[in-house]
């Protein structure tokens, strides 16, 4: 699965400045609402579901990266957004370090395979130091999408 197939350009946040994990998650969910990917009246419910998922174990998986996610019936295909936080966000990550790159995923409850494919795609690219470095330097959603397309096409 290609990143550009499920990351929503209009919902990408390249200069997120927040003081908590929940604020970061809320900003990303709101951004997906503004981009027309989820209905605004589902936002609180989705944020709550993602925070409940975080209680099972942080999705801060190290290397300054977090992948908060949930299933929700309001989407009929996998959707995701990216937030970049140059100041870092305390995410109770596995390695104890702050998070600078967040991929937030929402997937339909009846399609676990899509969720796994999305996670696989994200993880495969985030293993690449160049990808992470270029991503953190991106200044606009357009820059991010161009990078995702380059990664999808193995042009990095």
């Amino acid at each position: 699965m290609k990143l550009a197939e499920f990351v929503i350009e209009d919902a990408i946040l390249t200069d997120l400045a927040v003081d908590s994990k929940e604020a970061a998650i809320r900003a990303m969910v709101n951004s997906l609402c503004k981009a027309g990917q989820i209905a605004s009246d589902n936002a609180d419910n989705i944020v709550a579901a993602i925070m409940k998922r975080e209680e099972l174990g942080s999705t801060g998986i190290g290397r300054g990266i977090a992948v908060p996610h949930t299933k929700h019936p309001s989407v009929d295909s996998l959707v995701a957004t990216i937030a970049l936080a140059s100041e870092g966000v305390e995410f109770q990550s596995l390695d104890g370090e702050d998070v600078f790159i967040m991929f937030l995923l929402i997937s339909p409850p009846d399609r676990p395979g899509d969720h796994l494919r999305g996670l696989e795609s994200i993880s495969r690219h985030l293993k690449n130091d160049d990808f992470c470095s270029f991503l953190r330097q991106s200044n606009s959603p357009g820059d991010v999408m161009e990078l995702l397309r380059e990664a999808d096409d193995d042009r990095l």
Partner: protein
């Protein structure tokens, strides 16, 4: 403790949602301090079980059979513990 291995054992993913982020985290936590090597193989793909990024690239859905391969001091105990994790579906005691 003498070095052991490599020891191999197959396990089946019995999680409804496949080997997603929570079980991958549990695996990396479980093997973090093991001084030897731990690989998990799926078909022709072999990943380092100490790397959550590697584990997530397995994309293993329900029913997938994975091969654990462990080498190093205490390999027998470690592989036993890993198999138990899969058997209990990564639920805490």
């Amino acid at each position: 403790m003498t070095s052991e291995g490599p020891l191999c054992q197959d396990v089946t993913v019995k999680l409804e949602n496949g080997l997603h982020l929570v079980p991958c985290s549990r695996i990396t936590e479980f093997v973090r301090d093991f001084p030897g090597t731990i690989s998990i193989r799926l078909d022709d793909q072999t990943v380092d079980a100490k790397s959550i990024f590697d584990l997530l690239t397995l994309r293993a859905p329900f029913g997938t059979i994975l091969t654990l391969e462990v080498s190093g001091p205490g390999a027998a105990d470690l592989i036993k513990g890993l198999v138990a994790l899969f058997e209990c579906n990564f639920e805490p005691d």
